[in-house]
Subunit: 200 residues, 4 copies
DNA sequence: ATTTAATCGAGACGGTACGTCATGTCTTCGG
DNA sequence: CCGAAGACATGACGTACCGTCTCGATTAAAT
């Protein structure tokens, strides 16, 4: 009965007094998988543990909260990405980064996970900190793009880069969480252009 | 013991088969107070009821969910604002609206309450809907300003106004909730200018 | 699925803010039934609650521990008994009381329940107190029989009645819990006679 | 932090592939100490291991269960006794054995330990078996005394000796565990006399 | 004037998830 | 190869909120 859900392929070998890497993997995988399946609701610590074929205690031993598990699972997945392209043209780079951000957050397993993560972080200060650190790397990547553009003279020297970054991520999170507007490629293009050209 | 916290001044007179306005007030007041106080803890239905000296059923009779109570409590307080100025100059109007938004959300009772409300909305879909409706009026006011500007020719005709609105509120919520950047008058000015002039 | 076990016959009507007597009954009945079935092992709070069709909290609201539930269930069952016969002859009375004690504790639902109760009381001081009070009434009944006998001159005036009582209940509990000797009617007779006649 | 309690004096030298006697001692000592100290709390395997500065496995390698450790710890201490005197007079012998039993169980280190042990045995069937075996020697000693008395004609030939033994140990355990009556020398005398002379 | 009906405070209820604890098994690694 | 260390799966524990329910009282409206 339990196996029908977990499908971990049977017994994991014990690893003695060292952390069992296979268990870690099973937990992270199960967490991400459940998030993708269940649209974010009802992803319980117990559910994750059962799906991973793991005791709850093992989960609590290594992560402070359910959200921390999700975050690590997600961070792993997102490690590879972080494009930070360098075409030599700010407009192109900006469009690419923004579009990649928008697209990346909506692929099946990531979207619900990210949303759930935000929900959890809203209540769990510890997780909020972790998440802030995680997103920081994304912000840094975007800031690099802008800095390169400024050095090439594509931006006014006095421009507030942090504000520009926040305009991108602000729009992203705002629409991502509320869902009242699109986060498609056209929007990405329009947003990038707005930052560079403004509204005149 | 209960009175030490609620301080409703003792017994409320019954109002027979008509809704007891005093109870409604007590609930909203208690809700707002708790929203402001509870920095990290979650605001419980039971807590609100107890603080208001009210049965839980009274709460559920008049509001569909805990979130609805919280939102109404906050909305009452925020009723006044929604400036939507009309100086005849888009830049001035925009700066004014953005600055007012930034400032309004940080006044002592509103700031923490709004933050807690956002936290609650992250978990309570019903509240999320209500909050969306509530913020819609703010967005509409900003959109009006932009539309007037466009009609005066101060914006390119093809500009995506909704995106501009979301840039403002996106930045606002992003910084408001994460607290990693300022929401002062300079920022308001810079943001407004960015929307109009862009970064070249 | 749940109903297959609980068999409470469907929904219990709510009783508002007053304790639900039906729920109390269901809990006590379920507790005793499960004890009888499961030989005492694995009678979990959760199991009792589920079998009674009740939330765990309801159980904890009214009893301090699982053992307290069992005790109350058992005390109810034992209420009627408490023989304390009065044939006018001490030997007859004593034999009757002892035999009744032995027999009563071994009837299907009572035996395992009593054993489990003792197990629980070994760890739960609160329950130990309750149990002491419960058994006190049994001791008192036996003491009454002895006192009547002494008044009739069937016992030496200086005899330590409390010790006699403890000889009866000591043997009872000792054999009941360890199970190394019989607690049948012959034993009862022999024990009663031993107390009166001694070993010469 | 762990050492503050164990205070085993620091590192024990390893003994290679032979059983480490020092570890055995540390475990038994820790067990006895904890049995004596822990008045209400239960004595945990982990607690013993930590207090002895020992891994849990070392414990399970040499003893089948926690209870076995506790019992062995106690048995060692109680080795000496088992008097079984032979004055040639049953009454004297009986009084001596009973008084010794009562007194022995109340000496400072043994009393609380024995009580805790009984508590543990109530939950641990394995320990219960071991304890039964352990107490069997005590029962045998008493039975010997009685048998010698019977052979000397001081007891009716048909007397149920096992029942007499259980009257002694029944009273002992009953009062020892519940503490509602004294276990002093007078009681011992009265109990011995009761067994021989009875109550007329 | 009496009945009817709705509100109110109170809090019990069934339920879901939580995070902790103890058990007994297992494996690593230093000596 | 022993012994320490401690990770692991299991399963019970007791707590926190949720949203629903039923009281008994109180009082306004309908009769």
């Amino acid at each position: 009965m339990a196996d029908s859900e977990s499908d971990t392929g049977g017994a994991r070998p014990h690893t003695g007094r060292r952390r069992n890497e296979a268990a870690r993997r099973a937990i992270l995988d199960a967490a991400l998988r459940l998030l993708g399946e269940a649209e974010g609701d009802s992803v319980t610590v117990e559910t994750i543990a059962r799906a991973a074929g793991v005791g709850k205690q093992t989960l609590y031993r290594w992560w402070p909260s359910k959200g921390a598990v999700l975050l690590e699972a997600l961070a792993e997945r997102a490690q590879q990405a972080v494009p930070a392209p360098d075409h030599g043209d700010l407009r192109d780079d900006l469009r690419a980064v923004v579009a990649a951000t928008f697209a990346g957050a909506q692929r099946p397993p990531v979207g619900p996970a990210l949303r759930t993560l935000a929900r959890e972080a809203a209540r769990d200060p510890q997780l909020a900190v972790l998440m802030r650190e995680f997103t920081e790397s994304r912000r840094a990547a975007l800031r690099d793009v802008l800095e390169r553009g400024r050095e090439r003279g594509e931006l006014e020297p006095g421009r507030d880069l942090d504000l520009m970054v926040d305009q991108v991520y602000g729009v992203f999170w705002y629409r991502f969480l509320l869902g009242h507007g699109p986060l498609d490629e056209d929007t990405a293009k329009a947003l990038a252009d707005s930052l560079l050209t403004g509204g005149r």
